[in-house]
């Protein structure tokens, strides 16, 4: 008897909630993004990551001028599930645009598609969701990997062993950078790739992975880490083991530039992330006002950011205000 009363109570509560709510579905009319109140969300993979934070600064600076823009930052916590939950939340709250850094290309595809279907343009930064949508703003990836491969081949004199510290699986940037790296190295048969392992984008894991490599391989001439954080970890591990080698990262964060100046890192591919964030922000405002429908695209249009190859010789050319 009591049991059914309790089930009854909870069913009544849910029905009451449903009745109490006024369901409304409104069509998204094209707004004027510079006048009408708009809500824009920024959902990076990991808000504590230096790259993600730099983009956030760039976006914020861009939006600061327009008082009608409500800008909200979320944390993907390095989890596809969390990002999906937040995406659903953003779609329900009827945000006008989402700037997304997808943790995993396949896992975020459904959410991105749903957002576009609801008329919410999705602008991706570096890590793309595997579905055609409004825009992707990316650092050069394939080309970056290719540039590093050439630099490493030059540095080891076309003869040596290389290890790769990879991006987490499913990260579109990681896949492309590594592809560029491997493809270019095919033209340098004397340079052998000994191993590749996931460093989770983190310095801590890059350090651990590098330590494993140092244990396993007595002779490593060069390391390529897909992002600077992991490259710094690799550099710390190598220094702790007292082994010298060529270490390359990619991104161009301030700490990496400092490491290059101190000789702890050999080089990196620098992109101005403030600029990149600002570009995404501008694309967001453009997409809100333009009569385009991302859900009808068959391919995501890409904006690529031009890189600077940074080594000890060129690091001085990067101004303090451009160091993020």
């Amino acid at each position: 008897m009591r049991k059914s009363v309790h089930w009854g109570i909870i069913t009544v509560m849910i029905v009451a909630l449903a009745l109490a709510a006024a369901g409304q579905v409104s069509a998204q009319a094209k707004k004027n993004p510079y006048k009408d109140p708009v809500k824009i969300a920024y959902l990076p993979d990991n808000i504590g990551d230096t790259v993600g934070a730099a983009w956030g600064v760039g976006i914020k600076r861009e939006f600061a001028y327009f008082p009608n823009i409500t800008y909200q930052v979320f944390d993907g916590k390095l989890s596809a599930e969390t990002q999906n939950q937040i995406m659903t939340e953003l779609i329900n709250q009827k945000y006008d645009c989402i700037i997304l850094q997808a943790h995993d290309a396949a896992a975020l595809a459904a959410s991105a598609r749903e957002a576009e279907k609801q008329g919410i343009p999705v602008i991706d930064l570096n890590l793309d969701a595997q579905t055609p949508h409004t825009c992707l703003v990316a650092m050069v990836d394939y080309e970056a990997g290719s540039l590093v491969a050439q630099e490493i081949a030059k540095g080891v004199g076309d003869n040596g062993n290389v290890v790769i510290i990879e991006a987490p699986p499913g990260a579109s940037r990681g896949i492309n950078v590594e592809a560029g790296f491997r493809d270019t190295l095919k033209a340098h048969p004397g340079v052998k790739i000994l191993a590749a392992q996931d460093g989770e984008w983190l310095t801590e894991k890059g350090n651990t992975v590098m330590r494993d490599f140092l244990t396993k391989y007595p002779k490593i001439n060069a390391v390529f880490a897909i992002n600077d954080a992991m490259a710094e970890g690799a550099s710390q591990a190598a220094a702790a083991a007292g082994r010298k080698m060529i270490i390359w990262g990619a991104d161009g964060e301030k700490k990496a530039l400092q490491y290059i100046e101190q000789g702890k890192l050999t080089g990196t591919i620098y992109t101005n992330c403030y600029d990149e964030g600002a570009t995404a922000a501008r694309m967001a405002l453009y997409a809100i006002g333009a009569e385009i429908n991302g859900s009808k695209f068959t391919k995501t249009p890409i904006i690529k950011m031009a890189p600077i190859v940074v080594t000890k010789d060129t690091v001085a050319s990067i101004a303090e205000k451009d160091r993020w």
Partner: protein, 348 residues
């Protein structure tokens, strides 16, 4: 007859070092060039150093019958505290000393909270420390503003995690020191005795006059202290403080302690066992890597090792009841309780 008996007793007594020895020999034979080198052993010890420090403190909470799953979070928080303090004092050496103190204090404070809540309200330590894990990670996020805080200098700080003393990486000294201190406290102080007693039988312990509340608080404070120390070493090693540091370390800590023969019910186990557990997992992981087994198998292997280690310990323990030191202690405690009960009955 007596000769075989003493051989079995010997094997029982030195069971753990023997297992390690066998493992080392096997791996040396399989990978003669790579495994049995000084640099490889250094690498193994370095790999277990961070969670080894955590183990030295967390074992107190497990011996008590509790658990501390917030160690990773405390490490992240203390790393943040330390780094921020050093920056506030302009990267000076004074700043380093104050920073380390600040970090350790943060860890002790969290431990105190644990001890008070778990002891006062008698709530399951498992769930409480999982909840505080969330809170402490959140606090770390607030403290760091969810930014990566880099710390490349001063050298006195970066030495802690990245420096070498006589060719051995400094973190190894830290874990050795912590384990040694743990050993002394557990085996040679009254407090250590009290920890075992409370874990083995809390009712009997409090009847015998053991200050259970204070012992519990102290155990959790120690666990927080070592977690904080580990966090400081980690921050120094990676030359940064981030809010997501040390994620998943509680798993390694638990694995090491469990494989080392410590019972999760409390009252049984030793720091030597825990360090053995850490070394076993570390050596196995290292060996697998050297043999080219991809790292994706490591989680699988760890799970199987736990099963083997704990069942093996269970069966061997069953065959030789009462020979363990802590077993003797429990027998003594039970006898005390029986005496006390008899006295109660005689009272009118």
């Amino acid at each position: 007859m007596s000769k075989t008996m003493s051989a079995r007793v010997l094997i029982q007594k030195f069971q753990r070092p023997l297992i390690l020895l066998v493992l080392v020999v096997v791996l040396t034979l399989l990978q003669p060039d790579a495994f049995a080198t000084v640099s490889n052993f250094k690498s193994i010890f370095l790999a277990i150093s961070i969670y080894g420090v955590m183990v030295s403190g967390s074992i107190f909470t497990i011996l008590l019958g509790g658990i501390d799953l917030a160690v990773g979070a405390v490490a992240a928080l203390s790393g943040a505290c330390t780094v921020l303090t050093i920056i506030a004092f302009n990267y000076s050496d004074i700043g380093v000393i104050l920073g380390i103190l600040a970090g350790l204090l943060a860890g002790c404070f969290v431990g105190l909270m644990h001890g008070v809540i778990i002891s006062k309200f008698r709530v399951p330590a498992f769930l409480i420390t999982v909840a505080t894990m969330n809170i402490v990670y959140g606090a770390a996020e607030l403290l760091t503003g969810n930014q990566t805080i880099n710390i490349i200098s001063p050298a006195s700080f970066t030495f802690v995690g990245g420096g070498q003393l006589f060719g051995i990486p400094f973190p190894i000294y830290i874990v050795a020191l912590m384990a040694f201190l743990s050993f002394i406290i557990l085996n040679m102080t009254v407090f250590g005795r009290q920890v075992y007693a409370t874990g083995g039988n809390p009712v009997a312990a409090s009847l015998s006059g053991v200050p259970v509340f204070r012992t519990t608080c102290a155990a959790y404070i120690i666990s927080g202290f070592t977690a904080a120390a580990a966090g400081i070493v980690l921050a120094s090693m990676n030359q940064q403080a981030i809010s997501k540091a040390a994620q998943g370390y509680e798993n390694d800590v638990l694995t090491a302690i469990v494989v080392g023969g410590t019972s999760l019910m409390g009252g049984e186990g030793s720091i030597q066992g825990a360090i053995f557990g850490a070394l076993l997992v570390g050596i196995l992981n290292n060996g697998l890597r050297l043999m080219g087994v991809s790292s994706i198998y490591h989680t699988l292997v760890k799970g199987i090792i736990i099963i083997i280690a704990v069942s093996f310990d269970f069966y061997s323990r069953n065959r030789n009841s009462g020979l363990l030191r802590t077993g003797r202690l429990r027998l003594w405690m039970a006898r005390q309780v029986a005496i006390l009960m008899k006295e109660e009955k005689h009272q009118p």
